[in-house]
Symmetry: C2
Subunit: 266 residues, 2 copies
């Protein structure tokens, strides 16, 4: 790893969240910039919710700031600051990255789903034609659903405790991806060959599985967005059944690749 450097000519990227101390992006991207020979760093910015709307426009006008990443709880609110949205951000109404264009305008898109797909592809997994069960229709789940449909999966069954959230997502995506069978369901369907957890179930070690997944066949590809504990209950379950998997770390690495490309340093 190339040592970090900061000087007067260093270009700035920031990640904005509340809380912020737990984020991995400053270390990850500052290191990636250094490795790429780019004089830039990513620093963490702690912004409280009542100051978000007034803080972001000021950061965007700093003369040497070229990009922003947004994390919890700001991915939805951040769309107001983009002059244009990428396809995924526009579909799900949330973004996690903004970049300054040469003309001074700002483009935004959502890379949570792209990170998952890149992470899977990086491990050599084929997504096209899969029949997918997805747990969680929140921000990460919506982004992943969007990218999976775009990657050519055969069908998508969306499960969320808030059933109307799953239905809303299914309705949105059906219009955009007519070739993919997409539906909101209450229970795990009989037949599938891929399962993705984008819910918060599994963040606590005693959480268990996000749904009834007792009978995994070995050809089932298992994905989980949760980073810690490592491995998660679902990934442990996958390993026990001889399944291949894409975990939160694979997704982070995939997302870093996608974001470096978005920022023009890929």
């Amino acid at each position: 790893m190339t040592p970090l450097r900061i000087n007067g000519a260093t270009r700035l990227y920031a990640i904005i969240g509340d809380p912020i101390a737990q984020v991995k992006s400053p270390e990850l991207f500052s290191g990636r910039f250094a490795d790429a020979g780019v004089n830039a760093v990513m620093f963490p910015v702690h912004v409280l919710p009542d100051r978000f709307d007034t803080t972001v426009p000021v950061l965007m006008r700093l003369g040497n700031l070229d990009g922003l990443i947004f994390t919890v709880p700001y991915k939805g609110q951040a769309t107001q600051f983009a002059d244009r949205l990428g396809a995924t951000a526009a579909r799900i109404g949330a973004l996690n990255a903004l970049r300054r264009e040469r003309d001074g305008t700002w483009s935004g898109d959502m890379f949570d789903g792209a990170g998952f797909v890149r992470g899977a592809e990086h491990k050599g997994e084929v997504l096209r034609g899969r029949n997918v069960v997805l747990f969680g229709a929140g921000g990460a789940g919506s982004a992943i659903a969007c990218e999976l449909a775009d990657a050519g999966i055969e069908s998508l069954s969306i499960i969320d405790l808030r059933r109307e959230r799953a239905s809303a997502l299914a309705n949105t995506l059906r219009d955009v991806f007519p070739a993919c069978r997409i539906e909101a369901v209450a229970t795990v369907p009989r037949s599938f060959d891929m399962v993705v957890n984008a819910s918060t179930v599994g963040m606590r070690d005693d959480d268990g599985l996000p749904g009834e997944l007792d009978a995994l066949t070995a050809d089932t590809l298992v994905g989980d967005v949760i980073v810690l504990p490592k491995p998660t209950p679902l990934i442990r379950h996958a390993v026990r059944h001889g399944c291949r998997y894409v975990d939160g770390h694979d997704m982070i690495a995939g997302q870093a690749d996608a974001l470096m490309a978005f920022f023009g340093h890929g």
Copy 2:
């Protein structure tokens, strides 16, 4: 030197100026923080003049930003953001550093002069009792004049092409330091044993000396705030006459010590 690290828990310091690419503080202070085992960095912030007043309050409210340094052209304007001013900043109406206190208020002070005095002391020079000729009554000159008087010099003769600026500074300091003979003068007085250049004369290599200083005696202490060229015409002149000197690099090192202490990491 300890390698730099940036992560989610890194505390932030920023230097604000226009232009910004030439500043040395990000490298200097980020390195000092790392060497001190403090998880903090200083990053450069480029702010245009018409955005200064609206940008600084927003930066001051970032939850993880603990201090700011101000450089050209913002040292005067920055005083409006301090809840309280140190003695030097109050006297000369300018500051170059703000720090967040535990109660969330902000304290500011001016360290350009303290840096010069610390740099001199670090080289073992005695300032008390000196008869000083000072060229330049701008921001740096005012701060140095203030700190030299505070350090117990015997007399101070201030020379500035803008004579009224020299007079105003002399008047201000006479009230505060009655034991020191302070006056604005048009030409170099006959007798002195210290000369300090705080004007811009000497930034270009063909500038020559800031005033008529042909006959330097070897016991004259020579100071120059100019960093480049190194050595400056005045410092070369000092060396030729066997004089000891304090240059811009000594001053920067002295100021870094003073600022680290101000930020609570000294």
